[in-house]
């Protein structure tokens, strides 16, 4: 991803840290714009194939994982603010909570929803595509959560080593932006999967 550190330039005129920071930010946002198109494509496919219907899914589970993910975004924000105020203890606490919530989210989706949903990859006949889209949407999203968790684990490790401070927090900010982005994607996916349209097909 677009995270070049401040280069140790030998011959070439150096790029100032402020400029480098602005470039990194722009690179990251472009990457996110691009990734947003990927999710948009999946989103559109859902409406193309399901139209105004949806499968019967466990509403409590859907609501729970959504809340878990949203709360994780709060702790990510808290972690970023903590490091910007040089509060390393709070940074580590918050980022660990974020990671735990991210793992809980994945557990809810992959561990519970995938096992218990009435449609899955073995569903046959015309409702098979409900399982396919459900698994594809949640799978691709969970994959991004997983990469996010790995990124956050690296950030936690480096924060623990004391690599970040109020003067050097770009990596944390980048991780936070990515994490929020993945959350926002879910804010679109959750209603598309659980709320919109009439429920059809097999039930629990």
């Amino acid at each position: 991803m677009a995270t070049e550190t401040l280069a140790h330039e030998h011959h070439a005129p150096a790029i100032s840290p402020a400029r480098r920071f602005a470039m990194n930010r722009m690179g990251l946002w472009l990457f996110i714009l691009s990734d947003a198109f990927f999710f948009a494509g999946i989103f559109v496919s859902r409406f193309y194939l399901w139209g105004a219907t949806r499968p019967h899914l466990d509403q409590v589970l859907g609501m729970t994982v959504t809340i878990v993910l949203l709360v994780s975004s709060y702790f990510m924000y808290r972690a970023e603010m903590a490091i910007r105020h040089d509060d390393r203890g709070d940074y580590l606490r918050s980022i660990l909570i974020t990671i735990l919530l991210g793992v809980a989210f994945m557990g809810g989706v992959v561990g519970f929803e995938w096992r218990t949903s009435p449609v899955n990859l073995r569903t046959e006949g015309e409702f098979a595509v409900y399982g396919a889209i459900l698994f594809f949407m949640t799978g691709m999203h969970a994959f991004h959560v997983l990469t996010g968790v790995i990124l956050l684990a690296i950030l936690a490790y480096r924060g623990y080593k004391g690599h970040f401070s109020s003067r050097n927090y770009w990596a944390v900010q980048a991780g936070a932006i990515y994490w929020h982005f993945v959350d926002v994607v879910w804010v679109f996916f959750y209603p598309a999967l659980y709320l919109m349209g009439t429920a059809v097909g097999p039930t629990h």
């Binding site: 690179g27 193309y48 889209i133």
Partner: protein
């Protein structure tokens, strides 16, 4: 040990190891060690022999290390899949799923091996790594071209050379199946092989075009902007090197039965055809990373690293074109990745996205695919059209006519390009309510394209034209792109398209657009910047022969294609009915195709030989105002010693006393062109 011995030993050891791995993998799969068809074994042995040979030359070389990494990635992927499958209680070996998983792992192995990830992995644990400058210590100058390097000029050349190599492979395939088409009935190809070849020709050419575009953009954009390098040099190297395993994956499809869907990979056929289609789709999936990351890099470079005084409307027109292209690549590429990923998932996990029996819909594939692939055609042509606009004023000694309009027309084309995709689906059974709007939006694209033609005419009008090889290619680009543009509207009009769709007319159309929009400008750019890149002049006479063969050959070929299509020849079909009376046309097309092929070979020969033996070039042979021509050739490692300042408009040729840049305290007024001696 003398080098030659190391090379020979390297080859032998590599070949033996390769064969052993091949047999070993088959054994893991519970297959007999040798199949009836020994060709894959030989291919593997030769291939790994070559890797060994390269390692014999220098063990530090990035390319063979990457290839070893890729092979390791395959083995790891295969073993992991077999392991997981046995844990899950499935039959351990399933050829398709084993290779699919391995194909996702292999590119990562390549990147690790070639060293594209080394710095980032260090950053993860908080180790800072300095930027790399010049070839690694103690290594010769050529060394860096075969490994991971951060310099945008090296990467630009890596892109370009890889692109030309792929163009050669895809062109050879075309010559083979064009020869097959010389007569009705099947001569020497099996129908499946024919299908694989046309599919492979298409997609490898597209990969080659994307690489050529990347090459021009990487080499030129930082130079034109006055930057010392791209915004993210490591990301830049990564974006190039990921294309190599991707291309290898695509070509590997041949050893797995190939595939017969054409480059478009339409479901449901792609879900049912041979397993080679997986390699094509996964290869393109990874290729997409290059497009996305490379274009993000170009956008940041363009928006953040311009020389002082270079406002957006003082940027070279080529940079505008690349900017527009990059926005398409950044966003639309996700859709082709998505559509191909869904096909691979449907094949391997039975997810019925495109299967009506399972509630899916094959048209969804076409929507997703064309939402990328129509904008993609503008990725192919916008940089090329940018080259045309860039060079015409130089060779006409006149300002570019309507600079602002040209700059904005690229943006307009990029934007409109997102609104026309369904014109590829007029016959696919989409609702009439969709056909009409898409017909009109498609016609609308002709407006910004027309703006470009007007500007080109206005630029050459009453200019002081001179005609070295690059100018010949620029003029040919315009003439050839015109055929492409004129054959477009009949395809965009629903009633005529019902007849023309999937015929050779379409083949004629898009070859004209791609040759006019990419191939001709690409060669124009190669000849034009050749003295800048190598410090030497190409051979003018050979350049003219290349031009003559390629232009006449191409004109004849594409017009004949269009004609044959009107007479009822379907595209992508290995055979035709003798009663159709089109054999003569097929013969003409094949001969013209060979003329183009030979022309390109001569061109490549010219460039390769002149790079070592050409006359030493003067600093600014074309009398260009552009900053890269005001510094020595070949360009120094860090481009500009002192940042230059932009003080005027880029294309005010023929206006005395005007300058575009001020460098080292001097305003660089337009220098006269020093015509190359014959």
């Amino acid at each position: 040990m003398p080098t030659w011995l190391r090379i020979v030993l390297g080859f032998l050891i590599g070949a033996v190891l390769g064969a052993a791995v091949f047999v070993g993998v088959r054994a893991v799969g519970g297959l007999p060690p040798l199949a009836d068809d020994l060709r894959p074994l030989y291919a593997m042995a030769v291939f790994s022999g070559l890797v060994g040979l390269m390692l014999g030359i220098d063990r530090q070389l990035g390319l063979p290390r990457g290839l070893v990494g890729m092979a390791t990635g395959f083995v790891v992927g295969i073993l992991a899949t077999v392991g997981i499958r046995s844990l899950m209680g499935l039959t351990p070996w399933d050829t398709e799923s084993v290779w699919v998983v391995a194909s996702f792992v292999a590119p990562i192995g390549f990147l690790l091996g070639v060293g594209a990830l080394s710095d980032w992995l260090r950053w993860i644990v908080g180790i800072h790594t300095p930027d790399q400058h010049g070839p690694p210590p103690g290594k010769p100058g050529w060394f860096r071209y075969f490994g991971f390097d951060q310099n945008h000029k090296v990467i630009g050349i890596q892109y370009t050379v890889t692109g030309i190599l792929l163009m050669g492979i895809a062109g050879t395939l075309a010559m083979i199946f064009r020869t097959e088409l010389l007569a009705p009935g099947m001569q020497f190809l099996k129908p499946d092989t024919f299908n694989t070849f046309i599919s492979m020709h298409g997609i490898v050419m597209i990969a080659s075009i994307l690489l050529g575009v990347g090459g021009m953009a990487n080499y030129l954009v930082p130079l034109m902007l006055g930057a010392n390098d791209m915004a993210f040099p490591r990301l830049n190297g990564f974006a190039f090197w990921i294309t190599v395993p991707s291309a290898i994956l695509i070509i590997m499809a041949i050893f797995f039965g190939g595939w017969d869907t054409g480059w478009t990979g339409y479901a449901p056929l792609s879900v049912r055809t041979f397993m080679g289609v997986n390699f094509f789709m996964i290869g393109m999936f990874f290729f997409g990373f290059s497009s996305i990351l490379g274009s993000a890099n170009l956008i940041v470079t363009t928006l953040k690293m311009r020389a002082p005084g270079m406002t957006l409307f003082r940027m070279p027109i080529f940079v505008w074109a690349v900017l527009a292209t990059s926005f398409i690549q950044l966003t639309a590429t996700q859709f082709i990745g998505l559509s191909f990923l869904m096909v691979v998932l449907e094949r391997n996990l039975g997810m019925g996205f495109f299967n009506t029996a399972l509630g899916g819909d094959p048209l969804l594939f076409q929507h997703l695919f064309w939402f990328y692939s129509h904008p993609a055609v503008y990725i192919f042509i916008l940089p090329g059209l940018g080259i045309v606009s860039e060079l015409l004023p130089v060779f006409s000694r006149k300002p570019l006519f309507g600079y602002r309009w040209i700059a904005l027309s690229s943006m307009a084309i990029a934007l409109l390009g997102f609104m026309v995709w369904a014109h590829h689906m007029f016959t696919a059974g989409i609702p009439n309510a969709l056909r009409l709007p898409f017909m009109y939006t498609t016609m609308l694209v002709a407006v910004p394209t027309g703006v470009k033609f007007f500007s080109w005419l206005g630029t050459v009008w009453r200019g002081k034209l001179f005609f070295p090889t690059p100018m010949l290619f620029v003029l040919a680009s315009i003439a050839v792109f015109l055929i492409g543009g004129l054959t477009g509207p009949p395809l965009a009009t629903v009633p005529t398209d019902l007849h023309l769709h999937d015929s050779y007319f379409v083949v004629g159309h898009f070859h004209a657009t791609m040759f006019g929009g990419f191939v001709f400008p690409f060669f124009a750019a190669l000849y034009y910047w050749f003295p800048k890149i190598t410090g030497r002049m190409y051979n003018e006479r050979l350049g003219q022969i290349h031009f003559a063969l390629q232009t006449t050959g191409f004109y004849i070929m594409s017009l004949t294609m269009a004609r044959t299509g009107l007479l009822g020849m379907r595209r992508r079909i290995a055979d035709y009915d003798p009663a159709m009376n089109i054999q003569n046309l097929h013969i003409i097309m094949t001969l013209a195709g060979f003329a183009i092929f030979i022309g390109v070979l001569i061109g490549v020969y010219n460039l390769v030989v002149s790079a070592r033996r050409g006359e030493v070039a003067v600093m600014n042979p074309w009398g260009s105002r552009s900053p890269e021509w005001q510094i020595p050739s070949p360009v120094p490692e860090h481009n500009y010693e002192e940042p230059f300042e932009v003080v005027g408009n880029p294309y005010d040729y023929g206006l005395p006393g005007t300058a575009y840049v001020r460098m080292n305290g001097h305003e660089k007024t337009t220098a006269p062109a020093a015509l190359p001696a014959h």
